[in-house]
Each structure stands twice: as C-alpha cells, then as structure tokens.
C-alpha cells in the first residue's frame, strides 16, 4: 500500500517503537540510512541497523530478529518481490519499504495491512489495476456446488444442460481472464528500472517535519548523484531531481552571499555547480582524471596510440602545458585554473564531447575541504566494496557509513585513494578488453568474460564495481566498433567471483544509446534461462540482473539465453 502522508503514517507510528533497519549495500541506501538515523537521534527512537547485501542475508536477519521487533524498515530492498511470501511474517508485523527498484511487486502494492511503501506517487509507476490481476476465489466454489442439486428428472435435465453451458462459459471467461492477466503481469514485470532515490524520499520526510539540515540535504544530493554515476536513471529524471534539490539548496544556503551576516567558515555550505564531468579531478591531476573518466577515455579512444595523440592535441588546443596538467590539481597555476571549465568545454566541443559539463553540487566546510558530490560517491563505493578484509563482514559497510559524516575526513580520504585505484583498474581492464577483442557478439547481446589471471580481477568480484566496469566497457566498445548493429546491443559481463567454489558473477546491462530509458530486461531473462537449463544459479542480489552461477554451467546458460532472446 502506498503511504500518502509520510509523516503521519510512517514516522509518527515508529517514533514510539523499536525498529529494525535493513539497509542494502549501495550508496543511495547509505545516504537514506544516514538521514533516517539523524531523525531517529533527534527523537530518541531505539533502532537496530542491519546491513544486508542480498535476499539470503535479508531472510536470515529477519528470522533472527522477528521475535523482538514488530516494525521493520527496508531501505533500497524488498519492493520488487513478494515480501510476504519470502519472509512469512506474523500478522502483526509491519514493513515500511523505501526502495528505488521498480517495478514494485503487485502484492506489495495491493496489500493493505502489513506492507507500506514509502514511494513518491508521481513517479511513473503504471501499476496494473486491481481487477485485472486479482479475482475473488468464491465464484469457483459456487460452480461445483450447483452440480449436486436438482429435483425432477426433466427439470433436472434442462437445468443440467443449462448448468453445463453456464459452467463452460464461465470456464472460458476465466481462461481468457487468466491469459490477459499473464500478459499484463509479463509486460509490467519485464523491464527493471529505478525510481526516485530513497535518500531524496527520506529528505522529503525530514523537510515535511521541518527537521531538515544542510547535512541531510547533502546526503540527499549524494544519493541522487549515486544514481546518476551508476547510470540507473535517465538524464531527464536526473535534471528534474537536481532542480528540486536546487530549490532546497538555495533555501538553506542563501546566507552565504550576504557578507554582513555570513556564517562561520566551519559551517557546511552547499553550492550548485555546473561542473566538469571528470572523476575526482580536484583530488588528482587533470591528466589522470582525463585518462580515467569513462566519458573522455571512450570518446578520445585512449586505449589506442591514436587516442593518446588526440589527448595531447586536446591539451594543446586548450593551451595547457603537459607539466602543469600532470601535477596535482591544487598545485596548478591559478591563471590556468581560473577559466578552466569554459576552456575545456570549448575544446571538448571540437573533439566530439558535447556534454563534458554536468549540473551537480559541491560541499565546502573549513578552509581546506571542498568536495563534489561525485567524489563522495566514488569514495563511498570503494570503501564499501573494499576487498581487503579487516574484520567481520559488516566493517566495510560501517566504515562507508561513517565516511559520510563530516567529522570522519580520514576515512573519506582513504576512500578517495581507493577510488583512484579502482578507476585506474577499470580503465586498464577496459583498454585490454578492447585491444584483445574480448567483447564478442553472441547474436542478441554482446558478451565479455574476464579471465582468472587478469590483473585486479578481484576488484570486480563485487557487484557495483563490476557494473561500473561493464558500463564503461560498453561505452568504449560503442565508440570503437564500426559495426552499426553491435552498437545497439546490450552487454553481459562475467567475472570470476570465488575461485575455490568455482563461481562466476554475471551482470547484464541495457544497450548504450543517446536516449535510452535504462530499462533492463535481463532479470527475467536470467531467471528463465536458469530454469530451462537447470543451471546452479543464485539470484541473491536486489538487482535482478546480477546473478552468480557455477563456472561449469556457464556455457549452457549462455546458449539458453541466446535462444531465449533471439
């Protein structure tokens, strides 16, 4: 059931209760969690936080805690499956689901009592009407009972004939209704996509309660930017949401322009920026950033010698000396930095990169600390998917959660370093895949598989890193290939996950086009292929298009997919 008044139907209900927070492992969920934690701290709400990275962990956590809690809040998990069937809860447990995964499962939408969805109604949801999917079961029983009644033989016979005709008509109607229902459900659930970021939904809740602070606004911004960095939402939706957040930013930060009553330098200031799209460029050198951002490296084709020459031409066109560009951005000459954005934009237009600038926000506190929203996204993602194990399973999650607070700058800087390593690894892997033609067309899709001994392959055993790699690879492949048909194909990427158990992690991403609506059909396709071949797969991730399967079953799984999709 959709919650219309977030404050009354959600917050006021849980403010007096103990709550269990189940949070998925992505940056948007982390930001939503931070906002909700801050609200809980204001009102002294008792809560327990459990990070979950897949359906199995969700079920285990639920079973462990179901005796102690009656109210569960699920962040970025749980909307796209039938929760009641999977978790089998008691009658008096309530679930509040704040999830950006779509399509929302119809059972979750039409359940009136136990499941409440914290979702904005103006998202284009297209939920099928109730009558098209659910039908009273009582009509069935009337049919069977009528058969046994009857009094006189002739009447009986006539009534019998009438009954038979009625029954066949009803059965035919029922079959038609069921066929239509299957079609409607198939259309509805075929494509996976993402809706409004959960962090923005939580921020709206805080705003409605007048408890929104600049810090919470920043977390909402980071949540939205995470959706953009991971290519989960369309450009239109991103621009619309940026506009909505910009209103909040000007409301909170208009005092900074006034010299007389300006705020202390230590206060958080957020500013709207029409900034460059280069990843981490203010914490790196401009040269490294140009090489390691997927947008620039794909368009300049930096994996080839030609591409390197084009990069030199690009820099020369802007008049930036190589020596300056290769040192840390902070140490570049001020005269060069002043008009940098306009210069780069002009030159980029000449080299075919029309969207090098993007609307985003940056935060500024103290004298030294200035970060752009995408910097924080990259840093937090690398902290969360850090492969170096430093203790129990959840330390990475907690570290990433902590790095979002202003006081934990050391963790943030550690995250930035890890992010640089990750971006470099992604670029090198993309370059080697393209140069060695590892991306093969299988007919209805492109396929690429990372071999065991590839450098940094361990980094890509985590879902978000693998998704980033696949998107970069697809972008670069589209720019490098001359085959027009291949440019419109989606990509499936496989990487070894666990060598001892012989499993492989596989990710499917939609095709890369200018106006793509980011709808992904691989979720259902993977399920069907796994069923038909009996492969040992694990659909553990909240995103249905990411699965794990045994290495031996890989080839028959792929064959099944090819036949399914062609």
């Amino acid at each position: 059931m959709f919650v219309s008044d977030c404050r009354r139907e959600f917050y006021d209900v849980i403010v007096t209760q103990r709550v269990l927070l189940l949070v998925a492992s992505d940056v948007d969920a982390l930001c939503a969690c931070k906002i909700l934690q801050a609200l809980f701290q204001c009102d002294h709400v008792q809560y327990t936080l459990v990070p979950v990275s897949g359906w199995q962990e969700l079920e285990t956590a639920f079973l462990e805690h179901k005796d102690q809690f009656k109210y569960f809040v699920l962040i970025n998990c749980g909307a796209n499956v039938d929760l009641l069937e999977i978790l089998q809860p008691e009658e008096d447990t309530f679930f509040f689901v704040c999830d950006s995964h779509r399509p929302i499962n119809v059972v979750n939408v039409y359940n009136d009592t136990q499941i409440k969805l914290l979702v904005k109604q103006d998202d284009d949801l297209d939920v099928p009407a109730y009558d098209d999917i659910f039908r009273d079961e009582e009509e069935e029983e009337e049919d069977s009972e009528n058969e046994s009644e009857g009094s006189e033989p002739s009447d009986k016979r006539r009534r019998f004939e009438e009954d038979v005709i009625e029954r066949t008509m009803r059965r035919r109607q029922r079959r038609e209704w069921e066929a239509r229902r299957r079609e409607i459900l198939f259309d509805y659930e075929q494509y996976e996509y993402h809706g409004t970021s959960s962090a923005m939904v939580m921020f709206d809740l805080a705003w409605v309660m007048s408890k929104d602070l600049n810090d919470m606004l920043w977390w909402a911004i980071v949540g939205l930017t995470d959706q953009w960095v991971q290519d989960k939402i369309t450009q239109m939706k991103y621009v619309t949401d940026v506009g909505a957040l910009q209103r909040h930013v000007s409301r909170h930060n208009h005092r900074n322009e006034d010299e007389e009553h300006g705020l202390s330098i230590d206060c958080t200031r957020i500013a709207f920026d029409y900034d460059l799209r280069l990843a981490l460029y203010q914490h790196w050198s401009l040269y490294e950033s140009l090489c390691n951002t997927s947008y620039t490296s794909a368009r300049l084709k930096l994996w080839s010698v030609q591409g390197q020459k084009r990069l030199q031409e690009f820099l020369a066109d802007m008049g930036l000396p190589l020596k300056q560009v290769k040192q840390k951005f902070h140490s570049m000459d001020m005269s060069l930095k002043e008009n940098l954005r306009e210069m780069i934009e002009e030159s980029a237009n000449k080299f075919g990169m029309k969207d090098l600038r993007v609307q985003t926000f940056s935060i500024h506190f103290g004298f030294k600390n200035k970060f752009s929203a995408s910097d924080i996204v990259y840093a937090t993602t690398s902290l969360m998917e850090n492969i170096e194990k430093e203790g129990p399973e959840t330390t990475n999650f907690i570290k990433a959660l902590d790095s979002l607070s202003r006081g934990n700058l050391d963790k943030l800087h550690q995250g930035l370093d890890l992010a640089k390593k990750q971006l470099r690894a992604i670029q090198q892997t993309v370059a080697s895949c393209i140069c060695t033609n590892l991306v093969i067309s299988q007919g209805p899709f492109l396929y690429c598989s990372l071999m065991e001994g590839t450098p940094d392959v361990k980094l890509f055993s985590k879902p978000v890193s693998l998704c980033l790699l696949s998107k970069n690879l697809l972008k670069s492949f589209v720019c490098s290939t001359k085959n027009k048909r291949c440019k419109l194909l989606p990509l499936i990427m496989a990487a070894p996950m666990d060598v001892e158990q012989g499993t492989v992690i596989m990710v499917g991403i939609p095709p890369e086009t200018e106006s793509s609506d980011k709808k992904n059909f691989f979720g259902r396709a993977f399920e069907k292929a796994a069923d038909s071949t009996g492969s040992r797969t694990l659909h553990n991730h909240f995103d249905m298009s990411i699965i794990e399967l045994k290495t031996e079953d890989r080839s028959k799984f792929l064959d099944a997919l090819i036949s399914l999709l062609s």
Partner: protein, 185 residues
Amino acid sequence: MEPAEVEFLAEKELVTIVPNFSLDRIHLIGGDLGPFNPGLPVEVPVWLAINLKQRQKCRLIPPEWMDVGKLEEIRDQERKEDTFTPMPSPYYMELTKLLLNYASDNIPKADEIRTLVKDTWDTRMAKLRLSADSFVRQQEAHAKLDNLTLMEINTTGTFLTQALDHMYKLRTNLQPGESAHSQDF
C-alpha cells in the same frame, strides 16, 4: 580539577533559547525549568540548551557579551591594564567554546568572536605566567589576584603548587637551622 570538570560546572550557566516545541514546567533537582512555548524565549542551563539544539528543538540566542564590539573593548582593556580586568562571565572561555561548537549558525560573526576571545585569553595567560614567575622569584608569602576565572586558575594551579612545594623543600634543606616560613596555600 580536570578541564572537563570545569566545563561541566560551566554548563550550569543560564542562556536564552527559543524553543519550537511546547512543554509544561519541569521540576528538576536543581530547580524548575520552563514552561516552554514555541517562539517564546526562555532561560535554561547550557547543558539543556546544547542537547535541545542538537535535537533541532530550539534556536540559541548568544549572551549579550558575545558581540564583536563588546569583546573588542574587553580585549583592548585587558591589553592596557597590568592587572586582570573583570570578565563578562566567570565561564567566558567554556561558554564560547560550547556555543561556537554546537550553535555557530545562530551566532553572527562567529569566527571573529572566536579570535577575540582567544586574544583576550592569551593576554590573561601571559599576565598570569608573569605574575607566577615574579611570585616564585621574590619568594612572596601571599599573592592576591582579582578577577581570575576558574579555568585560568585551573591551568596553572597544579603546576604552581607543586613548583612552590619543590622550592620549599629545596630551601628548608639549604638552611636547616632557621625556622622555615610556613606558607599556607
């Protein structure tokens, strides 16, 4: 005393807040507080003010001495005089630190206030060190310093008393026959 203890005592000082909730009078061991009405200023101890501010339930109003003009005057006065001048509040240092840490968005020109208070503190500490130095050198029996705050006394207290103890021991060992001065501390 630890500096944390001095800060704890400082948190009993009263400060004005403007709450955004309503609550009847509450009766605590230390006295009564309230009633709280949204939009109406009320005086509460600093510990409660900071707690409410962190929970976003109030807005802090800086004390009247926490103003750039007044603090400039105090600082200049302190620099002119040789002895200590009276301070606007016996806990001026702790209050500045607490309020600027937690409520700097409610205090206009917070950075300048921080600088001015620090300047005044530095001047007073310099005077204190000078005075302690001359006290020890001239082996005085008593000293009287007016207008010192508890935090300042606390910074030098332990060191000064231990130093004077050592001096006494050294002196009594030098002149065993004479009756030693009994110095009351």
